[in-house]
């Protein structure tokens, strides 16, 4: 049984982001990239299943520009067996196009299980895995906090507001992983060295029979801005009556909203 893991490289959350002059995208020059942290959980879960002898192969899929190989090697160094790399600048597309590329790539391998992080931490769109499931006509469960293989099905716990619920999903199926499902391993030094020899199969859009013009959706980014810096937080002291009085004074006299 093969497990496909969808992976995205994202700017390191510690980086200082800049917006491009047209205010429509993040300036990717000079950024350090890492694997989106939820995807680390997806890879870890896949590796655990393989190590338990229930899967034969873990294959990582990603769409990205030249330079994404470094993040792919991280996934291979964690223990994934090989990778499929759709070499395409994702900034030209949005979730719809990326999902179509991944779905076409995943189809070439026919996995029983498809894992992904519950969302990527750059655009937080939470769109791609569900779209892939739809395109491949697979059932899916999102925000999974516990995963158990159960013959030809998987029993999983999904996180919901204030609790969880358990669903059984027949395979093949797609699942997106939430933090807490496992602790992703660190790639060991010997595995980092071995990752060099693992296969990264590259596809272009043409190889996948896709036409860039047809992958563009109607969604257009009209503007992007950084969160306001230097927030002036103020903590009021005193008992609750005093604090309410102070708050009302501020709202009336400083902020003039009352």
């Amino acid at each position: 049984m093969k497990i496909a893991v969808l992976m995205k490289r994202v700017p390191d959350t510690a980086s200082v982001l800049k917006i491009t002059p047209d205010n429509k995208s993040v300036d990717m020059a000079n950024l350090k990239f890492v694997m989106s942290p939820y995807d680390e959980h997806a890879i870890e879960e896949a590796l655990k299943i393989r190590e338990a002898g229930k899967a034969t192969e873990v294959i990582v899929f990603t769409v990205g520009p030249e330079g994404s190989q470094e993040t792919i090697r991280t996934a291979l160094a964690m223990g994934a067996d090989r990778a499929v790399f759709v070499k395409e600048d994702p900034s030209r597309f949005n979730s719809k196009g990326i999902a179509e590329m991944l779905a076409a790539a995943v189809k070439t391998e026919g996995p029983e299980l498809v894992f992904a992080g519950k969302q990527a931490v750059d655009d937080d769109a939470s769109q791609v895995p569900e779209r892939v499931a739809e395109l491949l006509d697979l059932p899916h469960a999102s925000i999974v906090t516990k995963f158990e293989l159960n013959g030809r099905a998987a029993t999983v716990e999904r996180e919901i507001e204030g609790g969880s619920y358990t669903v059984e999903v027949p395979l093949p199926a797609l699942f997106t992983m939430q933090k807490g499902i496992n602790t992703p391993r660190y790639p060991t030094l010997p595995n980092i060295m071995k990752a060099k020899k693992k296969e990264i199969k590259e596809f272009s859009l043409a190889d996948l029979g896709l036409d860039a013009a047809k992958l563009v959706s109607g969604l257009e980014v009209s503007g992007m801005s950084l969160p306001r810096a230097n927030r002036l937080n103020k903590i009021l002291d005193g008992d609750s009556t005093e604090r309410v009085k102070k708050l009302l004074t501020i709202l009336r006299e400083e902020e003039k909203v009352l």
Binding site: T188, L189, P190, M193
Partner: protein
């Protein structure tokens, strides 16, 4: 105003690494950022030894590769640099286990001894320590008092060792002792009757590290405990030289860590008419001096790594970098601490801890004076220490 460069690394040394070296660098950096830095200052303040780190260090696979002899010197150097960016005490755990114990066993132990210990030491299932220094013999190990005497079944060891990193945690100790007046190396399981270890408390420095005293009182070991290749003090010195190589890289990492923290601080901190500290000439002068020194430390380390990889490294070359880099690292740490004013002495920042930990590194594995004499002898042909 131009945005500042991302690091002090103005000569772009980090861009020279191959893909694996770069992946190793980022991996160890991530380990340090996630596992070490969030809690180490509190551990330092409370003199806490984190035993849970031992298996985690084992899982990184550094020691496994050293045990196999498959880690090239420059990659090992990068590992040391990144570990010591977190903590000198952390890097020392790896140096002792990897260079002093695994390295010594690989170089001087019998096939049987290697089979018994190398795999376990590589996973850190077993911890090792290196017992050379004694309470009264530090820079002059040839004066050691610890004795081995031949018995019908093997040897009996008597003596004590001091300032032994990993001393109380170790499962096996490499004990250097005089047999008929000649220094020999023995592999002694620490559960052998008569062997005891005691933790040295009250240190200002290396408070997160296990430093112990070893006491050997009629410790009987079989003949097979003697490492056949460790026939003289030269074997211990050769082993130390390998560890010192890692120190040269390591302290560059400690200096880097201090520099990164202080540079960000002077850019962010505003004094005098709303200007950042970094806008002042005196501050920029210090930053430029430190960038030059750190670059220098890294260039020396990298060159040593190349010499080592080519099998050409000589002890005085290692001494030159150990002497220079440890001194410069502590100077960089002190300048950084000063740039941060009162904040520089607080455990909210890492500089103070890095600075006091470097006090240990400055004198262990050969003081600056001793290394300068080794260099001096090679510059003049005249030994000044005998």
């Amino acid at each position: 105003m131009k945005p500042p460069t991302v690091t002090h690394d103005l000569y772009e040394l980090d861009q020279d690494w191959n893909d694996e070296q770069r992946a190793v660098m980022l991996q160890i950096r991530k380990f340090v950022d996630q596992e070490i830095l969030p809690t180490i200052n509190e551990e330092h303040n409370n003199e806490v030894l984190r035993k849970d780190l031992i298996p985690k260090i084992g899982q990184l696979g550094i020691l496994e590769m050293l045990a196999e002899g498959s880690l090239d010197p420059v990659t090992y150097g990068i590992v040391c640099r990144e570990l010591e960016r977190g903590s000198s005490a952390l890097r020392s755990i790896v140096s002792v286990q990897g260079s002093l114990v695994i390295g010594c066993i690989r170089d001087f132990a019998s096939a049987e001894q290697k089979a018994t210990w190398l795999t376990k030491l590589g996973t850190m299932e077993a911890i090792g320590c290196f017992g050379l220094t004694e309470p009264d013999f530090g820079s002059n190990p040839a004066g050691m008092i610890t004795r081995a005497e031949k018995t019908s079944s093997g040897f009996v060891l008597n003596g004590s060792k001091c300032w032994i990193t990993n001393g109380t945690q170790a499962h096996v100790a490499i004990v250097w002792a005089k047999l008929d007046g000649v220094v020999k190396g023995f592999l002694v399981p620490t559960n052998t009757p008569g062997f005891t270890a005691q933790s040295i408390k009250g240190k200002w420095s290396f408070r997160t590290s296990d430093t112990g005293m070893l006491f050997l009182s009629n410790v009987e070991v079989p003949e097979s405990a003697l490492m056949p290749g460790a026939k003289s003090l030269g074997a211990a010195i050769k082993t130390l030289n390998n560890a010192r190589y890692g120190i040269c890289w390591g302290v560059a990492g400690a200096a880097r860590g201090c520099f990164e923290e202080a540079r960000q601080y002077v850019i962010d901190r505003v004094q005098f008419d709303g200007k950042p500290l970094a806008s002042h000439q005196l501050i920029q002068n210090k930053l430029a001096w430190m960038a030059a020194e750190i670059t220098n430390m890294e260039l020396m380390s990298k060159r040593l790594g190349e010499l080592k990889a080519a099998g050409r490294v000589k002890p005085y070359q290692v001494s030159l970098a150990k002497m220079n880099n440890c001194r410069k690292a502590i100077e960089v740490a002190r300048v950084c601490r000063e740039l941060m004013g009162a904040n520089g002495i607080h455990s909210e920042y890492h500089i103070g801890r890095r600075m006091v930990d470097l006090e240990t590194v400055l004198t262990y594995e050969g003081t600056e004076h001793i290394h300068s004499l080794i260099v001096g002898e090679n510059l003049t042909g005249i030994p000044a220490y005998s």
